[in-house]
């Protein structure tokens, strides 16, 4: 399956390579570099490339490319998902997944890769199994190891490998037993110029941090599970139990994990927490334009909107912006043409406003591009869908754990169209007029 893996940084250096079958030369990456060149943006590199003898499947994570070389048919998602799992594992081990971290821990990473794949087929990808085989580095341990020569590598088969709960190791012990759940919801919305919702949905995730001794068996139930339209679970969740009773029953992995992803059915009306009044206009003549944006609260369920941030991708022709903000600060990046207005907390009494003029390149016509406006925000202690955890029960262990649930709403892909372009039903006459103008303009 997966033949080789190359890690490539954003400047195009291959800084780690691993082969699971016979060695494949680095030159195979040239095809990738070619595509990378062509794509301009790293996100636009096709994940799957075909070369005369190989197939290249790559992902882009944390400014790094994970490039795998394939020789025969394999489901591309299989490889992509695996590569992401590799990146996740590195992140899990070292706190982040970046070039520096990988270079610093190159041997551990190499050992990990060795364990994760055998002959190109995934062998151990469960983080707790890996952690038993190759212990993650801690400062204390590395000091001890250099002194004693003890190793970071386990010499017995991790219990998880053979058990039917491979995600949990046995013999977990804590003095403070605690289980925290974060219900995080993201609103994905597209609003049109008038503020009407074109499309909105809520995606949620429950992140858990469970530190419990022994083999606890948890049951998490919701007040209103019917809200959840589509779900995907960590493998520990008993699917049948969910099907029949709509409760999450599971033996949790140790530490942090994503318990469940869900989607709130789009039938439910999605509350849009803020509204935006905006006008961006460019004058037909003269190198300038005007911008005026006001943001106000809409449906916030009585909570404060925090971390409010507006990002506008300006047309290429806009050279600079001279604006005043009543609240927060704004920056305009000349290279990327991105205007960022960091507002912070939304005060319903005094609505934040950003106003001023834009300078466009002299001599160029008025931009026709659509600037798009993206909003970022956070609302603490609120799950915008109304989802509520009703209780958490623990079986199988005798102690009383400390339990906590936190809610958070975020803006996901929250976008507002600024212009609307309207097709008229029958434009013929209008068009003829236009052509005439056009013809006249050009013939002069």
């Amino acid at each position: 399956m997966i033949h080789s893996l190359f890690l490539i940084n954003h400047t195009g250096d291959i800084f780690l390579e691993k082969h699971w079958k016979s060695v494949i030369g680095r030159s195979v990456c040239d095809y990738f570099f070619e595509a990378r060149e062509k794509a301009v943006e790293p996100e636009n590199v096709p994940p799957v490339l075909q070369t005369p003898h190989h197939y290249l499947i790559s992902i882009y994570r944390g400014k790094l490319f994970f490039l795998s070389v394939i020789q025969t048919e394999v489901p591309p998602l299989f490889v992509i998902e695996f590569l992401h799992r590799v990146a996740d594992t590195i992140q899990d081990y070292f706190g982040e997944c970046s070039e520096g971290v990988i270079k610093d821990n190159v041997v551990t990473v190499y050992e990990l890769l060795e364990e994760m794949l055998d002959n190109g087929f995934p062998l151990a990808t469960e983080s707790n199994v890996l952690k038993e085989m190759i212990r993650p580095p801690t400062i204390l341990r590395s000091v001890v190891n250099t002194l004693t020569g003890a190793s970071n590598v386990g010499d017995t088969l991790p219990t998880g490998q053979l058990s039917n709960v491979p995600w949990r190791r046995v013999g977990v012990k804590y003095t403070n037993n605690e289980a925290y759940f974060d219900v995080i919801e993201e609103i994905d919305a597209i609003l049109d110029k008038s503020g009407t919702t074109v499309f909105a949905e809520i995606q949620g995730v429950i992140e858990a941090c469970v530190r419990l001794t022994g083999m606890p068996d948890l049951t998490l139930s919701f007040m209103n599970p019917r809200l959840l339209d589509d779900v995907s679970f960590h493998p520990c969740v008993r699917f049948k139990r969910w099907e029949s009773e709509r409760v999450l029953s599971f033996i949790p992995p140790d530490g942090n994990f994503t318990l469940m992803n869900y989607h709130v059915s789009s039938q439910n009306l999605v509350a849009i927490p803020v509204y935006v009044k905006q006008s961006i206009s460019f004058f037909e003549t003269g190198p300038c334009g005007r911008l005026d944006i006001t943001i106000g609260p809409k449906q916030t369920m009585g909570k404060t909107v925090e971390g409010l941030m507006v990002t506008i991708h300006m047309p290429k022709a806009v050279l600079s912006a001279n604006l005043t903000a009543t609240q927060g600060t704004y920056t305009y990046d000349l290279a990327t043409k991105v205007l960022v207005w960091d507002i912070g907390k939304l005060n319903p009494q005094k609505l934040p406003n950003l106003k001023g003029s834009l300078t466009t390149q002299a001599g160029t016509p008025k931009p026709e591009d659509n600037p798009s406006l993206n909003i970022d925000l956070k609302i603490q202690q609120l799950a915008i869908s109304g989802l509520k955890v009703s209780r958490l029960d623990m079986y199988g262990e005798k102690y009383k754990p400390f339990k906590g649930v936190k809610y958070l709403t975020k803006a996901g892909k929250f976008q507002i169209y600024i212009y609307m372009f309207i097709f008229l039903e029958n434009l013929m006459s209008y068009l003829l007029f236009e052509w005439l103008q056009c013809v006249l303009k050009h013939s002069i």
Partner: protein, 1118 residues
């Protein structure tokens, strides 16, 4: 270390000589000399005695390898450390070896013996890693060694090692394809493995080595389906993909009765109902499938195995792993009836939230699906709306999907979206949008004019790319109704002055030429301008200018004759030979000369023939002949190693090939090959499904148990080697009947052996196999139990009416355990077989004892207690140490878990009801406990404390076990007087360090002891226990339970009763007395036609009676 020192001695001389040689290697000299110096100190470190130095050196070497630097010259120094004790050094040496062994084959051979030793190591991790490295060394000479190692590992007792063996198979195959036949044998063997750990890997090996041998799957099909949900996620993907192909060859097309014409959107509507509807549909379908198919096959009936696959894969749509979701989606797309495919849409849409690479792949597949099944994704239209932050490639794919989804009803919303997109800053995306509008316009007649108008408006856009793309699309649209749009053509003619994009210019010229009669005035003028700029045009434009000239010449020669001549002359001297050729050809064709008169007559027809309008098609059309989700599908080209998805067969191949042959011959387990038989067996309880969410009481279930027993028995004879003596004496009580069965059995076995390995395979291997099997069973059970929660729901669901209350859970538990016990017995007869010769005498001695055969349950250990159901413990399972010849030998003893080794911190305790009289107190039930110390430290002073009992109950504790050394097992017997109730006895089990709360709860059947009654006594007693004391229940016997022998066996398994002789063969009678109060318990099972039966229990303790009825009923009907 002795080995390594030996190695050093052996190698000592050569290495000291060899090193300088490497140093002076001419190829690597000079440039890397600095490297060499550094390598010298690495060598020194590797030669040192300190592990820490070695480790440091190896780390540096591995870091070099990781960076892609050459470290091959260190090979001799590194390979010496292959036997190093330090595990991390060892691992790093392995890493190095695998990387460079291919280049230095001779030196690599020196390490082989270390691995061979490693293969025998008691630590499974070391065995596995030795095999991994051995098989990863790509040195052809060691192929035979690898082959041997793989074969051995394939029957290792550790499933992890077997998994590694499965991984090694493709490695060996790629090294030496000639080993294929032998490897297939190993694959076949591993396919029969019942652990989830092995399943994924072996199927992967199957796919790489012999994907064409679909016949190997038959026997394992149902097992794979049932195990699927527990296999690790990567294995799931491989198995699902393989099963998709399998199903395509074995089942009928579920959509075959739907006319192909109906493919359109109209009919699809009904599928998008709510989930409930779908479920109902499914149920109905199942019912249909279940109602005997014997009548007529006309209306399509889905093969139950086909249904099994669909049902067992469906929950995986909820997997967190996108690859699994995609695999299930493609399976449904290719295999499911049209009405059910809809379920995958939601899951696929969910994946659109994932990483952009995942989105990319998913959208490609969705695009293909939307062409075939547009309706499926229509409700999710808005999820494909494009955001400005999406990468371009994602945008384009979403656009593709939106276009495919467009129809009369939603086109207006889609077009409104498109309008927004046209204003985007991403020009490639705008171009794609324009094309999409064009496609919508061709596909949906109603909006053609609107789209055309919109596109024309774009012609005045300032961005040339936008205009150019619009021109190209408009050209295509105009071809459909040119006469209506001559003004647009005129408008476009004017654009030639401004548009510089060659493709657009060429398109405009072509349009004008083609429809020159609609624009008779403008066309010659355009030609005039073009003639002027001819030399500066791009090639495609030049060609179109020639075309235009030719067409005008033919229609309007008066005005354009000279221009045409001029253009043709220019073309004649063009640099491009295509253009020169075209000019020459056209000149000959259109300009009449004496010679070419014949053709020029038809020139007009040739040039101005009515051309069919182009159909704007999706690039994803017809991609679905590739299996969705595959690399080939994504690339739209066959990738190496791609397995075609076969077409559905015309007629279904024999479904009975998937029946697993039952090797043991206990009558009720006989093989059944006919369809109806299988159907009826459905009622049976699944064996495996304990661990399976989905299966329920269906086809799958019985096949499973078949397979389980089948394979067990297949190798059962081997078990004898390691059986305990007590068991052997137990065996003695087996009946003659069994011997007959054994005869049969032998025959079958012979056949099997012929097929399989040579008989002379060593005993040791066999015993290890046996161990392995035990182990499997163990793991299986552990699984079943820990998952019991969900399973129980499942079962109670399938059991129909039982509610989700705890009660039902416990009942399910009882059932399950019984089931487990029930499905075991078949293994027994075979076991005895090989022993028979040796033990003939003892058999003869004892076999007149009891007519019924006594299938004995093999020890079942470590029944992991799920914390949720600890209170349900003590229901039933088998015995570890079997008591010699009890009064009712036909009963199978079940083991229950008292303390799991995890909760017990290494101490595990199991207990069973030994069914022997408890000598210190006749009113007590004997409970035999087995303590196993799995911990590393000894356990001391095992005793009971703090007994909490219901009133009246009493406990006779076992004498304290003073010392239980690590790894040892001890047994003890305690007595409990349950007062004829099924209340649990709670107490603390204490060691010298810890106390564990445990409880024992007896099944009602264990609260009695057998008594002997004659037929007359029985009738007399029964006569006195009428009325309130009699409980009668009607039942339908399970297919396999319709002979006397089985009934006896099942009843005695469920309750500790003895058989009462009876004149009629239609009745079975049993008698016993409750242990505490000695109340009589009488059981009668009267059989009637076709499995109907009546169960009567007479007992003055009504509670006992009622509970007993329930239990026996269950035992007989499951």
């Amino acid at each position: 270390m002795s080995a390594s020192s030996a190695f050093n001695d052996e190698k000592g001389g050569s290495s000291s000589v060899g090193e300088p040689e490497y140093g002076h290697d001419p190829a690597s000299g000079g440039i890397f000399s600095s490297d060499y110096k550094r390598h010298d100190d690495l060598k020194e470190m590797l030669d040192s005695n300190k592990d820490s130095l070695k480790l440091e050196a190896m780390k540096r070497i591995v870091a070099m390898i990781a960076r892609g630097k050459n470290a091959s010259d260190l090979f001799p120094a590194v390979v010496k450390n292959v036997a190093c004790k330090n595990i991390e050094v060892k691992k790093l040496v392995y890493v190095y070896l695998v990387r460079y062994a291919e280049e230095q084959q001779d030196l690599a051979l020196l390490s082989i013996s270390t691995f061979q030793r490693g293969l025998k190591d008691p630590n499974q991790l070391i065995r596995a890693s030795a095999l991994r490295v051995l098989s990863s060394i790509r040195v052809t000479i060691i192929v035979p060694i690898m082959m041997l190692a793989i074969k051995e590992a394939a029957s290792d007792m550790s499933p992890y090692v077997r998994k590694t063996a499965a991984h090694a198979i493709p490695k060996l195959y790629s090294l030496d394809p000639e080993q294929k036949d032998q490897l297939i044998e190993v694959i076949e063997k591993l396919l029969a493995d019942k652990t989830t750990l092995v399943a994924g890997s072996v199927v992967m090996a199957f796919e790489e080595v012999c994907p064409e041998r679909i016949d190997l799957i038959h026997k394992n099909y149902r097992k794979l389906c049932n195990l699927l949900i527990d296999v690790e996620e990567w294995g799931q993907v491989v198995i699902i993909n393989m099963l998709t192909r399998y199903a395509r060859t074995q089942f009928l097309n579920p959509n075959m009765n739907e006319s192909l014409l109906e493919e359109g959107s109209g009919g699809d509507r009904t599928f998008y109902g709510s989930d409930e509807d779908e479920d109902e549909d499914e149920e109905e379908k199942e019912k249909k499938a279940e109602t005997p198919a014997m009548a007529k096959r006309k209306p399509y009936v889905m093969d139950p195995d086909h249904r099994l696959l669909l049902r067992n894969t469906k929950p995986l749509l909820q997997s967190r792993n996108a690859a699994v979701v995609m695999a299930v989606a493609q399976l449904y797309f290719h295999l499911a009836p049209k009405a059910e495919v809809g379920v995958i849409a939601k899951a696929l849409v969910r994946l659109l939230r994932s990483h952009s690479e995942v989105q990319y792949v998913v959208l490609q597949n969705v695009a293909t699906m939307t062409i075939k099944r547009r309706g499926m994704f229509e409700p999710y239209l808005k999820s494909f709306y494009i955001r400005s932050t999406d990468p371009t490639q994602i945008k384009v794919l979403k656009l593709e999907v939106l276009t495919n989804l467009a129809n009369e009803t939603n086109i207006s919303t889609i077009l409104r979206e498109f309008q927004t997109y046209i204003k985007s800053m991403d020009k490639d995306f705008v171009a794609a949008t324009i094309q999409a509008i064009g496609r919508c316009a061709t596909n949906i007649g109603e909006v053609r004019d609107t789209c055309l108008n919109g596109l024309v408006q774009l012609l005045s856009n300032r961005d040339e790319l936008v205009v150019a793309e619009s021109v190209v699309v408009i050209k295509k649209l105009l071809q459909m109704q040119p006469e209506k749009h001559s003004d647009i053509i005129k408008h476009m003619a004017k654009l030639t002055d401004n548009i510089q994009v060659p493709m657009a210019r060429a398109s405009i010229l072509w349009l004008i030429g083609e429809y020159c009669e609609h624009v008779p005035k403008i066309a010659p003028d355009v030609l005039r301008k073009m003639a002027k700029s001819f030399t500066n045009e791009e090639d495609i434009v030049k060609l179109q200018i020639i075309n235009l000239a030719a067409k005008l010449y033919l229609t309007n020669s008066k005005q354009t004759k000279l221009l045409t001549q001029y253009v043709l002359n220019l073309a004649k001297y063009d640099q491009n030979y295509d253009i020169r050729d075209r000019a020459r050809f056209i000149r000959q064709l259109i300009v009449p000369t004496e010679k070419s008169g014949a053709l020029s007559k038809y020139a007009k027809k040739l040039f101005l023939a009515l051309k069919p309008a182009p159909v704007l098609e999706s690039p994803f059309k017809d991609r679905d002949h590739f299996q969705l989700g595959s690399l080939s599908h994504l690339l739209n080209a066959k990738a190496g190693g791609y397995q075609e998805l076969p077409d559905w067969p015309e007629a279904a191949p024999d479904p009975s090939v998937r029946n697993v042959e039952v090797k043991d011959s206990v009558p009720e387990w006989t093989k059944c090959s006919s369809r109806e038989k299988r159907k009826e067996k459905k009622v049976e309880k699944p064996f495996y499904s304990d661990s399976e969410g989905e299966s329920g009481p269906t086809e799958s279930a019985d096949s499973e148990s078949d397979s389980a027993s089948g394979s067990e028995s297949g190798s059962g004879s081997e078990e004898s080697a390691s059986r305990s003596e007590s068991e052997e004496s137990e065996d003695g009580s087996e009946s003659e009947e069994e011997e007959e069965e054994e005869e049969e059995e032998k025959e079958k076995k012979k056949k099997k052996k012929e097929l399989k390995k040579p008989v002379q395979e060593s005993e040791s291997e066999q015993s290890s196999e046996e161990e392995e099997r035990k182990h499997q069973r163990k793991t299986k059970q552990r699984k079943s139990d820990s998952e019991s929660e969900s399973d129980e729901d499942e079962e109670s669901e399938s059991e129909s009416s039982q509610s989700e209350s705890e009660e039902s859970e416990s009942e399910a538990e009882v059932k399950k355990k019984k089931k487990a016990a029930e499905s075991k017995p078949p293994s027994k007869p075979v076991k005895k077989e090989s022993k028979k010769e040796k033990k003939e005498m003892s058999l003869l001695d004892l076999d007149d004892f009891e007519p019924a055969p006594s299938p004995q349950v093999t020890p079942v250990n470590t029944f992991l207690s799920n914390s949720l159901v600890t209170d349900l413990e003590g229901l039933s399972l088998s015995d570890t140490v079997l008591s010699p010849a009890t009064i009712a030998p036909s009963s199978a003893l079940k083991n229950y878990e008292l303390l799991h080794r995890i909760t017990g911190e290494g101490l595990s305790v199991e207990y069973c009801f030994s069914r022997q009289p408890f000598s210190p107190d006749a009113n007590m039930v004997a409970v035999q406990m087995q303590f196993t110390n799995n911990a590393t430290a000894d356990t001391k002073n095992l005793h009971i404390e703090d007994v909490k009992l219901q009133s009246g109950m009493r406990v006779k504790e076992f004498s304290e076990i003073e010392l239980l050394p690590a790894g040892e097992t001890a047994t003890a017997v305690m007595g409990i007087d349950f007062c004829d109730s099924t209340q649990a006895a709670n107490f603390q089990l204490c060691t010298h360090t810890r106390k564990f709360f445990v409880s024992i709860q007896p099944p009602v059947g264990e609260l009695m002891r057998p008594v002997f009654l004659t037929e007359n006594e029985f009738k007399k007693e029964q006569g006195q226990l009428m009325g309130m004391n009699e409980i009668t229940e009607k039942l339908t016997l399970d297919m396999k339970c319709r002979n006397e022998h089985t009934i006896v066996q099942r009843v005695t398994t469920a309750a500790n009763l003895s058989r009462v002789p009876c004149g009629s063969d239609k009745e079975c009678r049993f008698a016993g007395r409750t242990v505490s109060s000695s109340s009589l318990v009488l059981v009668t099972v009267a059989t009637k036609e076709e499995g109907a039966a009546q169960l009567t229990v007479n007992c003055e303790k009504m509670v006992i009676g009622t509970m007993l009825v329930k239990d026996i009923l269950l035992a007989l009907t499951q």
